[in-house]
Amino acid sequence: MTQGIGDAISSHVSEGAFETLPANAPGTKAIEGRSPVSLAFDRLRRDRGAMISLGLIVAIIVLAIAAPGVAALTGHGPNHQYRGLDALSPSGQPHAPSTTFWFGTDDQGRDILVRTAYGARISLMVGIGATLITITAGTVVGLLTGYFGGIVDTVLARIIDMVLSIPYLLFAIALVAILGHINMWLVMVVIAGAGWASVARIIRGQVISMREREYVEAARSLGASDWRIIFVDILPNVIAPAIVFATLLLPVSVVTEAALSYLGVGVPPPTADWGQMISSAQGLYQEAWWYLFFPGIALLITTLAFNIFGDGVRDAFDPRSDRLFAK
């Protein structure tokens, strides 16, 4: 301990400095650290179940985009009501799947295959759009209230409690009632309006625990402003839980959109929408099972794919959790 200065300098330069990490071999480039996010992505890529479901999701997206192509292929439009005998029986009953109408027709003589394809557009757009809005709104609120605290936080925390005490679907349909009218964009707003509070609560909790950490104190002692601390120190740590939440919200948003349409308060007819098709099918499925079956299966597959993918993302970010299909 009582070394002279000369000895001290040589000691800390020679072996102490590079204790465990050796110097780079000459000619190699500087070693880059792997960020936790990129490590998570790697784990995700190796998860077969997640990758398969991702492929499925991509397929559904392609189907949605290519809906007009499907229409062109079959020669039927999504809202066109066909009257011919292969579309509707003389008494107005829908026709079973046939070579002209691969998925059959509905009670108004419309092509169910084409409508299912177009329905994918609504489900995906609203599902993804609503999720984005919810996550953004919830994260911003959670971040600001969690960091700044004070009276604003107290008030907002109570508001979050309030929103969370009203059941999700009930709140969504109440919002529709208030708005008076509805269209696709408003459906996104409504779903986000019912869902932002859960995100905000989680993010707020995370931020509150983060703001007491020593690295935030260190940043303050360096003279960093609050905004710098929020953006540079806190936000990167909040991105991971936000992404995980987003994967949880995607299937929920898709199903909620369908549920709203099923109840008659979603995207208005005649737009092709899975929930709405199922709702119309309710009176007819006994004779026309295909009217219920195809949109129902489409909805199920979409939700299933998002759920499996979401599970995969969560496992990728938190490798401690036990995975069923370990690689």
Partner: protein
């Protein structure tokens, strides 16, 4: 004189758990501390956990607002400065933290962490900053090619070096070291302490070095102050303190320092203090140390001792004790009479 603390007081209101907020209970973290730190010297600050030294460190760096008192830095009164006003001064006062794992943001690359002060204070261009960062990394004994790594990839000692690099990159006038080695293994402690000592010589720094381990403080400090329950109980030059400690508390601390020579260790008598450190919410009356003091007397319970030189000590050595320990006195055989 670089830093002057004038009767600094910092109290924290006690968090009450009931709905009603008012509670007159207050934690007397720092209760009237006056210190001076000269340019270029290292002032060591020693004390047990809870004595207020970390709080004092944060007061000096203005992370806390003072309850009362005054802090003068480089001739300027910084006590009442707002956060915005403090900002440019923060380039001159830097802090090294205790926890090498908590004081670095795990999701940021090390180069970015060290460059933080440069970015915050608008120094240099991107390239210039990168070269400064790498220069500083080399200065503290890190491989500059590792600047893109994450803190998780470094050992405890190396992370502390990163903390040092971050603190020094702006070449501050004052560096407050808050227990910089307490969380490290003993062999690594030695390296970091030597690093700090070398850098002080190389860069002409001034340190406020806080620790609870006397042997560590002895090695780096020119002068030492001993704190107990929010007050300074003894101040002296390093050698004076270790050879002629006057306050019973200081003597007790010194007797607890491990001695390498087993024969000497055997021969030595430990001074064991009775009881625990009292709560800073309700510190004892008069001399705060009297309930645990091995030689307390009546006067110790009645009157608070002043921090002045005792016996024939020079002006640089003062102690707050009514019955200080004389040169040949063996405190281990002392008796209380209070």
């Amino acid at each position: 004189m670089l830093v002057k603390l004038d009767n600094v007081v910092k109290h924290f209101p006690v968090q009450s758990t009931s709905i009603r907020r008012h509670s007159s209970d207050v934690v007397h973290a720092v209760d009237g501390v006056s210190l001076e730190i000269q340019r270029g010297e290292t002032l060591g600050l020693v004390g047990e956990t809870g004595c207020g030294k970390s709080t004092l460190a944060r007061c000096v760096t203005r992370l806390y607002d003072l309850t009362s008192g005054r802090i003068t830095f480089d001739g300027e009164d910084i006590t009442g400065l707002s956060r915005r006003q403090m900002r440019p001064l923060r380039a001159q006062i830097q802090m090294i933290f205790q926890d090498p794992y908590g004081s670095l943001n795990p999701r940021r690359r090390v180069g970015s962490i060290i460059a933080d002060p440069l970015v915050i204070h608008g120094v240099g261009t991107r390239d210039k900053r990168k070269s400064l960062v790498q220069e500083t990394m080399e200065l503290v004994g890190l491989n500059p090619e590792h600047y893109n790594r994450f803190p998780a990839e470094f050992s405890g000692g190396q992370r502390q070096r990163i903390g040092v690099a971050r603190a020094l990159i702006l070449r501050p006038k004052l560096v407050v070291c808050d227990e910089p080695v307490s969380a490290l293994d003993v062999s690594i402690q030695a390296q970091i302490i030597n690093l700090l000592a070398d850098l002080r010589a190389e860069l002409g720094l001034t340190y406020l070095f806080i620790a609870h381990d006397l042997s560590v403080v002895r090695h780096v400090s020119d002068r030492v102050a001993v704190m107990y329950l929010g007050k300074v109980v003894e101040r002296a030059d390093s050698t004076d303190l270790y050879n002629h400690a006057r306050h019973p508390y200081t003597n007790a601390l010194l007797s607890a320092v491990p001695v390498p020579d087993p024969v000497a260790a055997e021969a030595r008598q430990r001074i064991v203090l009775a009881g625990d450190v009292p709560s800073p919410i309700a510190p004892p009356e008069a001399c705060r140390f009297h309930p645990r003091c091995p030689k307390a007397e009546q006067i110790c319970t009645l009157q608070e001792p002043a921090l002045v030189p005792r016996f024939r000590d020079p002006e640089t050595h003062d102690a707050a004790c009514h019955i200080p320990v004389a040169d040949e006195e063996d405190l281990a055989t002392a008796r209380r009479t209070a």
